[in-house]
């Protein structure tokens, strides 16, 4: 039987497992990216064999840009239904929007949230509270940009406890302080370690799987910010069992996405 590594070495689409990319973007960045469209992402997915990606806009600046960016993502989820799912990116408005308004925005067609702290707002800021509460009620994933900072880990621990029905995905695991990523991944049941990282050290993926468990590591590529194929390669090449590779590349993401429910549906609190 052809292994996933062999498929990658030959440049053939990954088959036999469902591959889900939990971290992608559409839109321009400050540096040159040849293709920043949703269509460009779907073209690459056809080559790599990635079945689904969850995308958000490239980092917006103002409230108006956030609105436009979320609208573009929603349009992409309609145009590429089933291939592209969307994260809603909340603007840290002051005063905060109501819980009902946050829910209404998410229910427009998004499956989760994406938060970034480069705007100077901590993830525990009250502006985000209604969105996190609404996402928690829907058992959604929230993709957090992270860079291994002590203050970030404090916030993630607080949010993990406060919102037990969220799936917290910590993007860029291994960017700094790998040990603390591993600790929070082990200790917080609803925290997952997401792998998008341009400069991935050799052996990182296998180490995370070994120390945290294959069920707590999820794959994301950060396409179109960087190359999806490049990011896929680090999991294909990691020295670990094939079943763990399948879990990291899609099995865990499928479980996370399948937990998402409409706000009104009954659910069991903390059901992981």
């Amino acid at each position: 039987m052809t292994t996933l590594l062999e498929l990658g070495r030959q440049g053939k689409p990954i088959t036999g497992i469902e591959v889900i990319d939990m971290h992608s973007h559409i839109g321009r960045a400050a540096f040159t990216i040849p293709d920043t469209t949703a269509e460009g992402i779907v073209e690459v997915m056809a080559r790599t064999g990635v079945a689904v990606t969850v995308t958000t806009a490239m980092l917006p600046m103002s409230e108006a840009e956030y609105d436009a960016a979320n609208a573009r993502v929603l349009e992409a989820t309609h145009t590429h239904a089933g291939r592209i799912l969307g994260y809603y990116r909340p603007f840290p408005a002051s005063p905060a929007v109501s819980l009902e308004e946050a829910g209404r925005r998410i229910d427009a067609g998004f499956v989760g949230l994406k938060l970034h702290n480069v705007n100077g707002f901590p993830y525990t800021h009250p502006s985000y509270t209604p969105y996190l509460e609404a996402a928690n009620a829907r058992r959604m994933p929230v993709l957090f940009h992270s860079w291994g900072q002590e203050e970030e880990f404090k916030q993630f621990r607080a949010l993990s406890e406060q919102y037990p029905d969220l799936s917290l995905l910590l993007a860029h695991t291994g960017s700094n302080n790998v040990t603390e990523y591993e600790r929070i991944g082990r200790e917080c049941g609803n925290v997952y370690l997401e792998l998008a990282l341009s400069r991935t050290p050799r052996g990182l993926v296998a180490r995370l799987v070994e120390n945290v468990g294959a069920d707590k590591v999820v794959w994301g590529s950060d396409i179109c910010f960087i190359s999806q194929a490049h990011q896929l390669g680090k999991v294909l090449g990691a020295r670990m069992p094939e079943e763990d590779r399948a879990a990291v590349l899609g099995g865990n993401a499928r479980r996370i996405l399948d937990r998402v429910v409409a706000a009104e549906e009954p659910k069991q609190k903390g059901d992981f």
Binding site: T32, P34, R47, R202, S227
Partner: protein
């Protein structure tokens, strides 16, 4: 389907990082090459942050490559302007005699200047021997590489370690200077970047590299193998381009 033949131009072993007691060995690299079906590798002493004695490191590199015929040494050369080193001609001649496929430059680490009056004797020899010259982006800026490319058009300059945010500069650099080549190894991870280079500059100017031992080498393999480019372009990048440079060395 025949698999694309790969010649990794951005690999190494034998160095020890700060805070570590040991590094990876040539055998470690050899095992990884076999696992990923990489046929040959141009190898340096890596990591090299603590490497002070270039001649001792080069000797160890030559010895390791003699035991691993699939590895081609890329020793470090320095100007002979301090009267403390063999002549550049002798350094390069020794490298060629030992089977070197390129030489590496580390101006800042090895305490020399790229100014013409301090380095012209070095580059004149490299140009005369048509010696591929490995330029790590940590050691030389893109501006400096552009200057060298213009000043010494006969020196093939292999740029490695370039980050994914540099294509606004890399594209005109390669388009302007036909003696500049780019390794796609860590940390070049541009979405559709290889495709764009092939379209705008041509497939002849990219080189396959991984970034071993720092980077997960399968990342660069996947980057190349999944690129939406013609198969002949993939093979040029995979190994043909560097083998052509090897064939151009005046031995």
């Amino acid at each position: 389907m025949m698999s694309t033949r790969l010649f990794d131009v951005q690999a190494g072993f034998g160095g020890v990082a700060s805070g570590a007691s040991a590094g990876v060995s040539a055998d470690d690299l050899s095992e990884e090459m076999a696992r990923l079906d990489i046929a040959r590798a141009l190898v340096r002493t890596c990591p090299d942050e603590l490497l002070k004695d270039v001649f001792s490191a080069n000797a160890a590199l030559y010895e390791a490559c003699r035991a691993h015929p699939d590895m081609v040494p890329c020793p470090i050369v320095i100007p002979d302007t301090g009267y403390d080193a063999p002549s550049v001609w002798d350094q390069v001649s020794l490298a060629i005699a030992q089977g070197a496929g390129a030489v590496a430059l580390r101006p800042e680490q090895d305490c020399w200047s790229l100014a013409d009056w301090a380095s012209v004797s070095l580059f004149e020899v490299l140009e005369e021997r048509r010696m591929p010259t490995y330029c790590d982006a940590r050691s030389l800026t893109l501006d400096q590489v552009g200057h060298l490319a213009e000043r010494y058009p006969g020196v093939p300059l292999m740029l490695a370690g370039v980050a994914y945010r540099e294509d606004r500069t890399m594209l005109p650099l390669l388009a302007t200077f036909h003696n500049v080549y780019l390794s796609i190894g860590s940390n070049y991870t541009v979405h559709k970047g290889i495709q764009q280079f092939v379209e705008k500059v041509g497939a002849g100017r990219l080189l396959f590299g991984t970034g071993f031992p720092d980077a997960e080498p399968m990342m660069a393999v996947a980057l190349l193998m999944y690129a939406d480019i013609p198969e002949d372009a993939r093979q040029h990048i995979g190994s043909d381009n560097f083998e052509r440079l090897l064939g151009g060395i005046r031995r």
